[in-house]
């Protein structure tokens, strides 16, 4: 402290592109594109129901894994940071499940009362 150098001196050198890294990014892009295409096709070929919904939820989580893990780099952070983010989101899943069950009961109650 106290010296206060006006410019931090060494403006770091430009390094050449790393083809391996770019290749990895494009690979993840391809996965995401394929997964979205599969969802799209399934929406029109498979009948609606619990099975299709489960497949959609599963594919969405796979996409989440790639976006958060690779694009947001969370996969390569320290373990405790990964858990600091993942653990609270697991509680959200529980909230969603609880609320959907609750909504089902509400629906039944409405039918019972209002016919």
């Amino acid at each position: 402290m106290g010296h206060g150098h006006a410019h931090h001196g060494h403006s770091a050198e430009v390094q050449p592109r790393d083809p391996a890294k770019v290749k990895q990014i494009l690979k993840v892009t391809l996965y995401l594109a394929i997964l979205t295409a599969i969802e799209f096709v399934l929406a029109f070929t498979v009948g609606r129901g619990p099975l299709l919904t489960s497949i959609f939820v599963l594919l969405t989580f796979v996409k989440t894994f790639y976006i958060v893990g690779e694009f947001m780099h969370l996969k390569h952070e320290v373990k405790i940071l990964i858990w600091a983010i993942v653990l609270p989101t697991l509680f959200i899943m529980w909230l969603i499940l609880a609320m959907l069950l609750e909504a089902n009961h509400l629906h039944e109650a409405r039918q019972y009362i209002f016919g």
Binding site: G2, L81, L106
Partner: protein, 251 residues
């Protein structure tokens, strides 16, 4: 004092307290925690959607015979069927395109971050610009989508109220909805609107960061970490859309 200066240079990553919690810089860690809180907000909205949907009647007839009614929740692919300039039945094609645009802009953002790690100002500029363009394209698509949703179909929907009045409704707003129960439209405006606001702020922040890159601010500091932080935000917005796409349009 000389030793202090050397320490500062060797451990650029340390926070002011002299440690580096979770091996992440202060800005990045705080961005992660902000995103977590934002995820809670979006979850609240999507949970509300799921709750409303499950507490309403589902449509049980054949998909081909579907017609909108306030008595049951609509099939989304029967609601979002338009593409610009062409008068044809194309369910979900336009939203699929929007999803693609946003995922691609996420990819250009990763490439900008990667270029930042290499201190390659030219590449960062190029990829940031593509990301901004992708964001603007997505917002334009959304504006069109909203316009169609608000204007409604040619035939509209005739609603018989319990008190005997008959109304002819075209399109949707926060009070009336041609496509199904009123809350379906309300949540459409809330969820896609809240997400669109995030995209809009992302585009604005991206423009500011692009400006700083172009004027060499990060080059002088010697680190392009700000690109990384705004990148985290941008990917999160993309991720939220992945969820909206699945739960609002597909399921």
């Amino acid at each position: 004092m000389a030793t202090a200066v050397i320490d500062e240079k060797e451990n650029k990553a340390l926070w002011a307290g002299g440690v580096e919690p979770l091996k992440a810089s202060y800005g990045k860690l705080m961005m992660w925690f902000f995103l977590l809180s934002d995820a809670l907000t979006f979850s609240g909205l999507l949970v509300t959607y799921g709750f409303s949907r499950f507490s309403h009647n589902a449509y049980h007839g054949a998909v081909e015979a579907f017609h909108t009614s306030v008595a049951y929740w609509p099939i989304p692919e029967k609601v979002f069927t338009h593409i610009p300039f062409v008068h044809t039945y194309a369910p979900l094609v336009f939203v699929g395109l929007m999803t693609f645009i946003l995922i691609l802009s996420s990819v250009t953002m990763v490439l900008a971050v990667e270029a930042g790690h290499r201190n390659d100002k030219k590449d960062v500029q190029k990829w940031m610009l593509w990301t901004i363009l992708g964001g603007i394209a997505f917002l334009s698509c959304q504006a069109w989508e909203w316009t169609i949703f608000i204007t409604g179909s040619e035939n509209g929907l005739i609603i018989n109220d319990p008190d005997g009045t008959v109304r002819h409704v075209f399109g949707a707003n926060l009070i009336e909805n041609e496509y199904g129960p009123r809350i379906f439209a309300d949540l459409f405006f809330f969820i896609t609107g809240f997400h669109g606001t995030h995209v809009l702020s992302g585009v604005i922040i991206n423009i500011i960061v692009f400006y700083n890159v172009a004027f060499g601010t990060y080059e002088r500091i010697g680190s392009y970490e700000m690109v990384e932080k705004v990148g985290l935000y941008w990917h999160f917005v993309d991720l939220v859309w992945v969820f909206v796409f699945t739960f609002y349009y597909l399921v």
